[in-house]
Symmetry: C2
Subunit: 190 residues, 2 copies
Amino acid sequence: MTITKFLTTLVPFTGDELNDILAHFKKESVPKNQILVRQGEICNSLYYIEQGMGRSYYLNENGKEITQWFFGINKFMTSADSFFQQSPSIYYLEILEDAIVYNISKADIDQLFAKYPKMEKLGRLVAIEMLTKMVNKLNAIQFQTARERYEYMLAEFPDIAYQVPLGHIASYLGMTQETLSRIRKSDSRK
Amino acid sequence: MTITKFLTTLVPFTGDELNDILAHFKKESVPKNQILVRQGEICNSLYYIEQGMGRSYYLNENGKEITQWFFGINKFMTSADSFFQQSPSIYYLEILEDAIVYNISKADIDQLFAKYPKMEKLGRLVAIEMLTKMVNKLNAIQFQTARERYEYMLAEFPDIAYQVPLGHIASYLGMTQETLSRIRKSDSRK
DNA sequence: GTCACTTTTTGACCTATGTCAAAGGAATCC
DNA sequence: GGATTCCTTTGACATAGGTCAAAAAGTGAC
C-alpha cells in the first residue's frame, strides 16, 4: 500500500490536502542494520514504512538489548515520546530489513497539525491504535505463560516472527532466548 | 483542580470555547463500588475525575478480577477502545471511592472534535500521555521482579497504593496477593 | 458486642522459567 | 572456502514466585 492510500483510508483527505501533506514527507531507502535514532538523542523524524521492518529497543542495566516494539509494513515508526515531547529517546530505532520509508520532521508535522484539523484527527487515531496494541501486549505479557506470549507474537506480527533473530523476539516477549528456543522446538514436534 | 483549569493547562482554549465545551459535560456524583460499564457493553461516556478514584478490570478465564488500570484525580477514565471505536468493552469500569466526575458522551465529544481543532489536539495529547504511561507499565511488568513492580506502582500511583484492596493492586501488577503481602511485610521491616 | 463476611497474612510445597556453560549451525568477510 | 563472528540449541541446576490451605485480622450490620 502506498502512503497516499494509507492516509486516505484513515481520514478522507482531498487531493490538494494530500499533495500538500505528502510534500512534507521525504522518501528514503534505509539499509538493514541502520540505526535511525540512538538512546539519549532526540528523535526528530516520524517514519512511515513502505517496505522493510524495524524495531525499537533499549539497553538494560546489564547492557542487554531489550526489544520494545516491532514496526512492519504500513506502520509509523518513531520513538513516540521523544518525537512528540522532543525529549531524549529511551529507545534505539533500528531497521532490521532493507527498507523504504517516508520521513517527516517534528516541525513539519506540527505545521500540518496546525493547518489541517484532519491531521490532528489522523494523529489521534494513530495514537489510539498504538495504545490499543500496547494494551494487548501488556495483557499478553502480564498473565500468560511463555508459550502463550509467543502465540500472541505470532498473531500480532505474523510476518515478522520468522524473519528476525530469536533473541530480538525473546526480549520483546520478556523471556530468555533459551526458553523461546525450547518453545519453538516443542511446537515443531506437534 | 477544576476541569476548566485542567483543560486550559493542556490547550489554550478561549473563554467562549471553554463554555461551549463544558456545556457538554455533565457533573455527577458516583458512590463507591458503582460499576460504570460492564464487560461486553459499549462504553458511551468519557469521565473526568474531579474527586475519588476508579479502576478498570476484566475477568480472566478463571473468573478472577484482573485490574487493568487505576484512574486518579484529574484524569480521564473510560474504556478507551470501546469508547472510541464504539465496540464492546473488554473491561469493567468501577468507582473505588466516592467520586465527582464530569461525563461526556461519544456523540458530544465527536461534535466537539469536529468543531474545534483544539479538541482534536487535546484528544491527541491525552492519548499520547496514556500511551506513555502504558509503555512505562509494560516495561515495569516485563522485566522487573515483583518487588520492583510494586515500587513502580508506588511511584506511579502514590495516592492510590494505600487506599485500595491488596488484591486489586496485586492483579494490576501481575502477581498474586500472597506475593504482594510478603513484599509489603518485608518492606515494613526496613 | 457478636455474627458474618471480607481481606490479609502465613506456611509448606511445587513448577515454570531463569542462569550458566558449552556445543552446533549459519552467515559474512576477505 | 576457511576463518571469524554471530545465532541457536541443549543440558544441568537454581530460584522467584505460584498454588493451596488455613489462620488471623479487619469491617460492617444489627
